[in-house]
Symmetry: C2
Amino acid sequence: MATTISQTRVSQRRQATIEELLDHAQAILDEEGAGAVTVSEVARRIGMRPPSVYKYFDSLHAIYDGLFARGQTRIVQAIEYAVRDREPGLASLLAGHRAFVEWSTRELGLASLMFWRPVPGFVPSPESMAAAQALSALGREELRVAVERGELAPAADSDEAARLLTVLVSGVFSQQASNQPGADFDAGLFTSLTDEVLAMFVRHYRPTP
Amino acid sequence: MATTISQTRVSQRRQATIEELLDHAQAILDEEGAGAVTVSEVARRIGMRPPSVYKYFDSLHAIYDGLFARGQTRIVQAIEYAVRDREPGLASLLAGHRAFVEWSTRELGLASLMFWRPVPGFVPSPESMAAAQALSALGREELRVAVERGELAPAADSDEAARLLTVLVSGVFSQQASNQPGADFDAGLFTSLTDEVLAMFVRHYRPTP
DNA sequence: GTCTATATGTTGATAGAC
DNA sequence: GTCTATCAACATATAGAC
């Protein structure tokens, strides 16, 4: 029994170290881009020797995967928070996608790792991808509800419409990130188009009265 | 005089070698991503020793810049070709932006270098960026003409509308490139939305009769 | 212009002492 | 879990012979 408690403590400590390593990896990602994240640099920042890092991550790719998973978790949280007291359907759909752009603008490093492919050869693990799919399923479900409630035309209850929405929000993110990376959501030349872009989508799928 | 002719021949040969080196660099970019382009690998492929490459490019960054400039030149050519026998205004605007997506989908390597920022520390030179600005000026001008011809509402003659268009096409490109990189334009889950997205834009700026 | 040779630095990853 | 030591590989870049 004492062993179990002790193991729990150890594993909590271990998890905390993992998160701290990811904090440093994310800082590098933000400051110098994905290509600058290396085992050595992460070790340097946390004050370990490189071999020690391998006790926590099997490889450099595992660190990327940890960052990818962290991004997925966080953006889902951001969206859930934004949607928390909205009606299901169109209101949630718009609030959620707006939150998507807001979060991505704030977390440029993680977002670029998730929505671009800046690291040659890095493919997220199936576990990390599962969260990504859950996210898109969420948007898909809100489309269904919005149509059910008569807020959007029937054609909006489709995978195509869902893809169209991701095109819009990732387009805003991409242009903002590559042309004016410093700006925040309200001041950004492209992020400030978010509501207009979403309005375009709504008009495109306006229900016939 | 003989000297001048000889120098011209030499400089032509030199330019040909530069293009050949860029061909190999682009092949690496396409096959393994931007991070895999190195002076050594380019040298290996063309059959030179690495130091010889420095006679043609001052640094690795200069090779990236050459690729960036090549991409700008080629996409402008692709767009001009697509627009060659269209009426100025809306028809050209749509054909041009469609060509933008088609070219980017075909040239994933160059496009990702131009529209994402995959190389830490690499910033295109002012000369290379000039071509990029010329490209956006071209789209801006077509918007002006389209409004002049009454094909779009006056609000479309604005920098905001121009940015909105870039958001749309770069969104299509980004989603296609990161989620289904192999597919070609017609089969792509996202590129096949190009016309629909452009139709959304036209509807958004439909002139009042 | 191309080469050999070299300086100098980096990386990812492993073996094994403590 | 952390370290030292080390590997093998690779990189950018320069000096100088031919």
